[in-house]
Subunit: 414 residues, 2 copies
């Protein structure tokens, strides 16, 4: 876990505000769940590997005294926002709008081995639609998420889409053993990183039939269009799946209007075990790693409320997006000009406070600094910190405005 310095917080706050504004315009409402959930809940999700990374909270008082070594904790920090969302939905059903279009932005925790660019506390930024079975949900999520990313200034976006039911049918069609689709997905998910040969090797090592492996990788080879797959899979895939996929592709394409690319990708897998239908990811620039991802998970809510509720979600990889934005340099604090007023400490504060109030009422960010013994050095330091508008108040309350030299430090012009 890490501290965030002021400049990065400003960037994060700005990015969050952009994303939130787009999502709100798309009719989503923000909800909040606590950071801490019951361990029983966290462990019964389909969180896979993440369940091993839960920070558990030690029981307290009598409960701790009575606890066995295997039973020291009954609470844990959330490792994603999807499990809490489903619990929240089940818990507050009667008081929530139906369907629910929820925004969640907040920290999650995973006890991962620290590595470059990966933190044990990080922010997730999800939108989910609960209660919409039709592909209108997918269309809305894709349009809202791509617009939010565009609002951050991210160009060159590609949205890739696939459907878990196609992947499932393909695995069956190729002759893999029934019930072992999960391990096929796990290997296939690494295609971007290890290439066709790497995937083939992993599949054979996992004990899958070489013939099935070849058929799968041939069938999914780059360029596999919905039409080609449809010819291959025939009656293994329901007509409605193809129709839904085509509707998403056509509708989103018509709305994209060149602002992002949309592509069917038969090799797209997504890691989580709970997806049941369409899945999608967003790539930025030439990078193969995704900056957002999501899909349909129609069977998760049922585990909590006893009846299935159709659900779809799209999650922006907030930390990855921030690291892309940071590479571009500091955020332009365009709206509010920053001003410093240097005042003589020993005098009455009336004049400097009155001036500060006027400037603040104009929306400016005004920093007051007591005049240091070495004014020249103080002004130089302020310029180094990026202040471009510095007023020095004399004992008479008169302000002398300093215009910094282009390029920063140095003598003042006055």
């Amino acid at each position: 876990m890490r501290d965030v310095l002021p400049d990065e917080v400003a960037l994060r706050d700005w990015a969050m505000a952009q994303i939130l504004a787009v999502y709100r315009r798309h009719g989503f409402v923000r909800i909040e769940t606590p950071a801490v959930e019951s361990l029983r809940l966290l462990l019964r999700s389909d969180g896979g590997e993440n369940e091993k990374l839960i920070y558990k909270i030690l029981k307290r008082g009598d409960k701790l005294a009575a606890a066995g070594a295997e039973d020291l904790a009954d609470l844990g920090l959330r490792f994603d926002l999807t499990v809490p969302l489903v619990r929240y939905y089940a818990h507050n059903l009667a008081r929530l709008p139906q369907p629910l279009k929820a925004i969640q932005i907040g920290p999650v925790w995973r006890a991962e081995r620290p590595q470059q660019g990966r933190y044990r506390q990080f922010t997730q930024c999800d939108i989910d639609i609960l209660g919409v079975a039709s592909e209108v949900a997918e269309i809305e999520l894709i349009l809202a998420t791509s617009e939010a990313l565009a609002a951050l200034g991210l160009k060159d976006l590609t949205v890739r889409i696939n459907d878990r039911r196609l992947l499932g049918a393909m695995v069956a069609h190729c002759g893999f053993e029934p019930g072992r689709a999960g391990s096929v997905f796990i290997a296939l998910d690494k295609l971007d990183k290890v290439g066709r040969d790497g995937v083939a090797a992993e599949l054979r090592e996992t004990g899958h039939a070489p013939a099935a492996v070849e058929r799968l990788l041939d069938g999914l080879a780059a360029g596999a269009t919905p039409a080609a797959l449809r010819g291959l899979l025939g009656a293994r895939v329901d007509e409605a799946v193809w129709r839904g996929l085509q509707r998403v592709l056509d509708t989103v394409e018509a709305q994209a209007a060149g602002r992002f690319r949309l592509a069917f990708d038969a090799t797209l897998v997504r890691g989580m075990g709970y997806y049941t239908g369409p899945i999608f990811e967003v790539q930025h620039g030439g990078s193969t790693s995704s900056i957002a991802g999501g899909g349909r998970y129609d069977r998760m809510v049922g585990k909590f409320i006893g009846r299935d509720v159709p659900a779809t979600g799209f999650s922006i990889g907030f930390e990855r997006v921030i690291s892309i934005l940071l590479e571009r340099g500091p955020v332009a604090e365009a709206e509010a000009e920053r001003v410093v007023l240097v005042f003589p400490e020993s005098e009455g504060l009336g004049p400097v406070l009155a001036l500060a109030r006027d400037l603040r009422e104009q929306g400016k960010q005004v920093l007051l600094e007591a005049r240091a013994k070495r004014l020249g050095k103080q002004l130089q330091d302020l310029e180094t910190r990026g202040f471009r508008r510095i007023g020095v108040l004399g004992p008479d309350g008169v302000v002398e405005w300093r215009e910094p030299r282009v390029g920063g430090a140095g003598e003042t012009s006055a």
Copy 2:
């Protein structure tokens, strides 16, 4: 801990944005620390009772296997934002602006017994100035905080101010045993709640001399002005303390301009053990409980970096403020009109998406809803949810706008 429903999240987000905007205009910058800190850090603060309420995080893997029963945790959830601030300041000193004017808004956790209006996860909202020894810091904090509260629409604000050094001198002057000032402060802090007799009883029960108790309560009786106390305490209080107090009173009074009241209150104590100078609280309306509080704590940073750094902070009781705002009813979503577009599910989505895009570009929040079988009931439900502008699209893409009757549900006008 609790879930927050969409309407309250909207109010909280709005309140946070107002507060942040004021603080930024006053030259503060937001910083972020992780939710989890080392237990060693949390336990070495002057957090008093709060240290007993820490949620501890269970060690993992080999560390847990090797741990004794007393040693099961080495991390904990932060119980306030001051301890993490000081750790952050010490850790990032070279990369932070000097002096640091920091904003922190975020959740903290305390394992308190649940009670009305008190939660185990709650939001704190602090500003702190590190590195300013003069009372300019107090003046800036009081002006920024009162302006932030006013920006939330809170009127009838009273800022009370006192100084721990006056309290200390008073306790010595009255003849309490040296070194037992802490227990005198704890009893005196309850004056608002239990009254003079209650405080006197507690002080006598704690073993303080009845004569000292009487002298103290007489000396601090309502109406004790700085001048009266000065006469009483004489050389026990440094000249600079009086001068500083008077400067804060005069300067803030001149700036308050009727927007809030400022009052010296010789009985103001504040609970925390770490205060070293001026302390302040804000009351709203006739309530005796405070909605914000703070003070100077010049000796806390020294514990971390080996040299004292002057520090002052002011914390808004965010949850209390939100409960006041909630009593006033829902937040007026003035800026962005909310619109619902009801569309025929079986048709192409082009027309409704195009219309939604136009409205969103105008800043409106647009919710899309598939047309239900019983349109009348659907429209009624939407009106009950507060939507005042509802467009129903026909199969031809033509929009019929419904104007709801005043008072909500019922027939549509079309």
